[in-house]
Symmetry: C2
DNA sequence: CCGAAATTAAACGGATCAGTTTATAAACGA
DNA sequence: TCGTTTATAAACTGATCCGTTTAATTTCGG
């Protein structure tokens, strides 16, 4: 409201701090990142950093929350719901996989999984701004498609989460556990097609 | 060979060390566990611990490797492949979900995800003794079922990983990110049935 | 029962790191 | 230009923790 920047909170170098923190946390993880490194990357003194954030945890939470929202919104706004069902589903899966398999998506997932039992709020915020948000959008699309008679789904909640999970088949674990570091478009399309084929075999008209 | 115990390596208190390490690592994670705590839990001096394992990492790797093998084997040996396809698939899914949702499965997953980019061998070993091993067993069952004309699958590899991933729908993320801590049998059966329904809609005869 | 191997407790070295403090300097509004 | 707010660098505190060392004790085979 009162601030000219994007943040409600005070500050001239506030965004610098967030940017530096994001950079370091994303490349080093939560435990691996030292506050000194964050301050250095932000080109800000440690005292300044601590004048904005009371401790390392809250700084990290803010970074994670912001990034999850940003990414989820970006993914959602670039899906065109007017295409045929198969195409819409393929698009959704493409976007989800692109995020799952991106270095950034990997990092966020890794950190949230690692820290969310020692740091429950983080897990909850990530889930709300990530999986839950996406699932809600998918379900909303299902509603329309069901109304138009293009899909037959009883348990929309389950169906949405099944679709999400199908996008993780094979490639995602291989990336998370370091078997591979990147995949060809062919591999990705194969999984996307497989997911949509399976989904439509079950819920198509 | 030469040793009376179960271990190839030397030692009288070797197993004590592993047991204590498993207990502490599973309850505190890798970073959260201190070697002193491990030694205490193992009722062993730290010097003894270090006489068996050169450092904390290798100790953890050995614990993780052993536990993954143990759990995977246990799950595999209790599946009866002679039942009708639908029942076998339900059984498989039940077993997988039981593991995914167990406190132990959660712990291992969490730690392996967290540590596997700073500690690549761990991720690889976990993947090999977990997902890959399970997928191989599932594919081997597919081969038989296909021969008997009970399933129609072109890409067996993809199908196996799709089945695995369908078992994680909804409940698994909710547990990983701390939304819920346990689930009713009804919820679990719902996901299992949903997974098998979907799988058979796609690959059933 | 002896002597080698294993085990122990306890302290220590060296390193990292979160968060505070202090004294100084820059930025900026009035 | 003055005074307040904001930022800075650097040293410091207090704590944790890995891994080593030492000197004493226990275990156990032969």
């Amino acid at each position: 409201m009162a601030d000219g920047g994007t943040q409600i909170k005070r500050g001239r170098k506030f965004d610098q701090v967030l940017d530096g923190a994001r950079k370091i946390f994303m490349s080093d993880g939560y435990e691996g990142a030292s506050v000194d490194d964050v301050a250095k990357a932000a080109e800000v003194s440690k005292a300044t950093l601590y004048s904005y954030f009371p401790d390392k945890r809250l700084l990290f939470m803010e970074v994670a929350r912001l990034e999850c929202c940003r990414q989820t919104e970006h993914a959602l706004e670039s899906i065109d719901m007017t295409q045929p069902v198969r195409d819409v589903l393929c698009n959704m899966c493409q976007h989800m996989m692109k995020f799952f398999l991106s270095p950034f998506g990997q990092r966020v997932f890794r950190i949230c999984v690692a820290e969310s039992d020692r740091f429950p709020e983080l897990g909850r915020e990530f889930y709300a701004s990530g999986p839950e948000h996406v699932a809600a959008s998918i379900m909303s699309y299902f509603d329309d498609a069901i109304d138009r008679g293009e899909l037959q789904i009883k348990d929309r909640h389950l169906a949405a989460h099944q679709l999400i999970e199908l996008c993780k088949a094979d490639l995602f674990p291989r990336l998370v556990f370091g078997i591979d570091t990147e995949f060809s478009d062919e591999e990705i399309n194969n999984v996307v097609t497989g997911a949509v084929d399976m989904f439509l075999a079950r819920y198509g008209v």
